[in-house]
């Protein structure tokens, strides 16, 4: 497995006080479409911006396509197509002018490809960016990023403000283009159903740390849901297997347990299969609980 995005002991602290991220260890393999999931403030945007050289690491190191974005930001940007949460297009420029602008800023930018993608989405090239809907703006941002022909695509919550249809179109275009180019994509998002359809790997960030980093198929195969309180899950799977508990939408307690992918013949698997959303929620809940425990311990030591 060749890693195209790496973080080793990476930490970012703002204004000498708050750590947005600390001790992050993760790799994104080449050719994957990886989902980066985490609650607000978990440091997803900081990590993505750091990979493109927009943020400087406080500690640790990063690698973007084999280069350190802090030492050689230009080389890092050359390897990356970036789509932020809000595309921030030039309001008075038309879509066609955005494509031209990108062509003047980047050697090798494929203007014909960008125009083709935009055309496929039925966005008029003459339309001014200020007149586009949020979804259309995001699509234009994606078309520009794809037409850079960069081997790595970083998408920082681009789906957040999109309606379901626009989200589906966005993901379809992204997956198709990434697969066709053999590129690698990292998609940060809150929308688990979209991730499940588009991505093949999952990274969960919480409280500045990596909580889970697995292929999605493996994550689903290795987790089961026990319907009941944590004690029931511990009884069935053992204390070491319990990851976390959380309430179902109706309020009944659910517990996520780690299990082997294969169970011996004749053995009933524990509980039921976990959905990706349940896996993410349980890991986030567990991460929050660990952070709260650590804070309590720190307070105890200080007292």
């Amino acid at each position: 497995m060749t890693a195209v995005l790496e973080a080793h002991g990476f930490g970012k602290r703002y204004r000498r006080r708050t750590w947005a991220l600390r001790g992050v260890e993760l790799v994104v393999p080449e050719g994957s479409i990886t989902a980066l999931v985490g609650p607000n403030g978990s440091g997803k945007s900081t990590l993505i911006r750091s990979w493109i050289g927009f943020e400087r690491a406080t500690e640790g190191r990063l690698s973007t396509g084999g280069v350190d974005p802090q030492r050689d930001r230009k080389a890092a940007v050359e390897r990356v197509g970036y789509v932020p949460q809000t595309p921030s297009l030039y309001r008075d420029l038309s879509v066609a002018e955005h494509i031209t602008l990108a062509g003047t800023l980047r050697d090798g930018f494929d203007e014909a490809m960008a125009a083709r993608y935009v055309g496929r989405l039925s966005i008029p090239l003459r339309a001014k960016a200020g007149e586009l809907s949020g979804g259309e703006g995001a699509q234009v941002g994606l078309a520009l990023a794809l037409a850079t022909r960069a081997p790595i695509l970083l998408l920082d919550e681009p789906l957040a403000s999109l309606d379901p249809l626009a989200r589906r179109e966005f993901l379809h275009l992204m997956v198709e283009a990434v697969r066709a180019a053999g590129a690698t994509a990292l998609l940060s998002s809150h929308v688990i159903t979209d991730i499940e359809q588009a991505c093949d790997r999952l990274i969960v960030l919480g409280k500045g740390h990596t909580l889970l980093d697995l292929p999605i198929a493996e994550a689903i195969a290795h987790h089961r849901i026990v319907e009941g309180p944590p004690a029931e899950a511990v009884r069935l799977a053992g204390a070491d297997a319990l990851i976390g508990s959380f309430p179902a939408p109706a309020g009944e307690p659910l517990s996520l347990v780690r299990t082997p992918a294969l169970v011996p013949v004749g053995t009933e698997p524990i509980g039921r299969a976990a959905t990706l959303e349940e896996i993410v929620i349980a890991h986030l809940a567990a991460g929050r609980r660990r952070a709260a425990d650590a804070a309590r311990q720190a307070e105890g030591v200080a007292a």
Binding site: V77, S88, Y90, L93, L101, A102
Partner: protein, 310 residues
């Protein structure tokens, strides 16, 4: 930097570019009309000597209004480099950071320097051409309003005409560019630029006066001439020293009580720069202002290369 990139820079800053170009074109057009009518219509003969000319031509409305329009245009000239500089330089980086478009541009283009040059060079060139035009027009209008003034040998209208208009404009635009790159906010950029420019001009005045005093001609028979740049009035001592009144009083306290005694051999003198040196002084100040503009330009470049986008 390509022509396409330059044209897009004007499109991105369309409002500011339009205002600067329109103001410059309007000024040039109005001045051209005034100058053509003034000289072509024979009104120039009405001015140029101290005696009022009572011909019907000189009593006509155009003879009254053409110089008025010229004076008004001249009065507006010093404002142009300041307002134009703020409009040209302020938004380039500040607004892009504020609206997030810098993030898009910096993620699309690996070289921020290329983006910076593409954004700055066309706008600054346009602004410089506009300032040059305004400076030349101001020279012509001054000649119209004050025909006895030798434009190339007079300090009349100093800093409000000629080469100093584009250089002052460049300083304002560069300061605005640098502050915009540092703050990433448009309104604070405008306010801080005005404050810094005011302070800089005050400091430049002080330094320049000191430099010019070292080069000043000491004239015992000085008669006020609008062409010369008067700097100070002093006293020439019999031993050749040039002293201020306070220094003279310190040596001759009796002058304070009984008044200055002409028989003492102390002569009042004026320190001034002859009008013939106008272009020397103008070029030197322009060079100093260019150096300041360059320094702020470098600061803006460093800020763009190092800062993170919003």
């Amino acid at each position: 930097m390509s022509l396409r990139g330059a044209l897009l820079s004007f499109r991105i800053q369309r409002f500011e570019s339009t205002v600067v170009v329109f103001a410059a074109l309007l000024s040039v057009a109005v001045s051209a009309v005034v100058i053509t009518l003034f000289y072509g219509g024979g009104y120039a003969s009405c001015f140029g000597n101290d005696q009022p000319v009572l011909s019907s031509l000189c009593q006509s409305t155009p003879a009254e209004w053409l110089p008025r329009i010229a004076r008004l245009s001249l009065a507006l000239v010093p404002i142009f480099p300041v307002i134009g500089g703020l409009l040209a330089g302020g938004p380039i980086v500040a607004r892009e950071l504020e609206t997030g478009t810098a993030r898009l541009a910096w993620s699309l283009g690996p070289s921020r320097l290329r983006w910076f040059a593409q954004r700055v060079v066309p706008i600054f060139l346009m602004f410089l051409v506009a300032c040059f035009a305004i400076g030349v027009v101001a020279d012509s209008l001054l000649h119209l309003v004050q025909p006895t003034v030798a434009i190339d040998g007079s300090f009349v209208g100093y800093r409000a005409r000629g080469l100093l208009i584009p250089t002052l404009g460049l300083v304002v635009a560069s300061i605005a560019l640098a502050i915009g790159a540092l703050t990433g906010r448009t309104v604070p950029t405008i306010i801080l630029t005005l404050m810094l420019f005011g302070g800089l001009i005050a400091a430049a005045d002080t330094v320049e006066k000191k430099v010019l005093l070292g080069e000043a001609v000491v004239g015992g028979d000085f008669q006020y001439s609008e062409n010369n740049l008067w700097l100070d009035s002093k006293f020439l001592m019999p031993d050749g020293r040039v002293m201020s009144w306070d220094e003279v009083i310190a040596e001759h306290p009796e002058f304070n009580e009984f008044g200055w005694d002409e028989s003492s051999g102390i002569q009042p003198v004026a320190l001034y720069i002859p009008g013939a040196r106008y272009h020397d002084v103008e070029r030197r100040e322009a060079a100093a202002l260019l150096a300041i503009a360059l320094a702020f330009g470098c600061l803006a470049t460093v800020a763009v290369l190092r800062r993170r986008p919003r």
